[in-house]
Assembly symmetry: C2
Homo-oligomer: 95 residues x 2
Amino acid sequence: MIGVVATIKCKDGTAADFEAAAKQLVEAVNANEPGCLFYRLFKTDVPNTYRFLEAYKDKEATEAHRASDHFKTMGRAMGAFMDGAPSVERLPGVE
Amino acid sequence: MIGVVATIKCKDGTAADFEAAAKQLVEAVNANEPGCLFYRLFKTDVPNTYRFLEAYKDKEATEAHRASDHFKTMGRAMGAFMDGAPSVERLPGVE
């Protein structure tokens, strides 16, 4: 298993738009990626700052995620509201 | 939904023991907590340092987790190998 913690800041005033775009991505990932075991969005206690908690069955599943149409289109839509690049931490599972 | 990211350092030389104890806890949580939606252990790139990624249906589910017999007994067993208290971050879900 591979865990991912992705922290994303959105631009001031775009939180509602960011959340709406991110929710579409969360739905699409959970509906279409059998190798993705968990993919949800959370708020942090830092203003405008969110965190995706993600888990994938294996490396192939992380590649399928990044290569998917929904990630490309909805990730781009979400990206319009982001303040800089996400900070992404990859964690090997203990199994 | 409530997300939890719990970072735990184990004492030098106890990684195998810590992992064995933590794996028992992961199994028990996933087998016995219907309100827990995700609970897995991952390694970080910091030596001896691990991260639990967790998600619960609601506040009641987090309380049921902490009050469970398995958390009390297996958490204590795991605690014997820990180097200090865990650092726990609670994240409200965006739904």
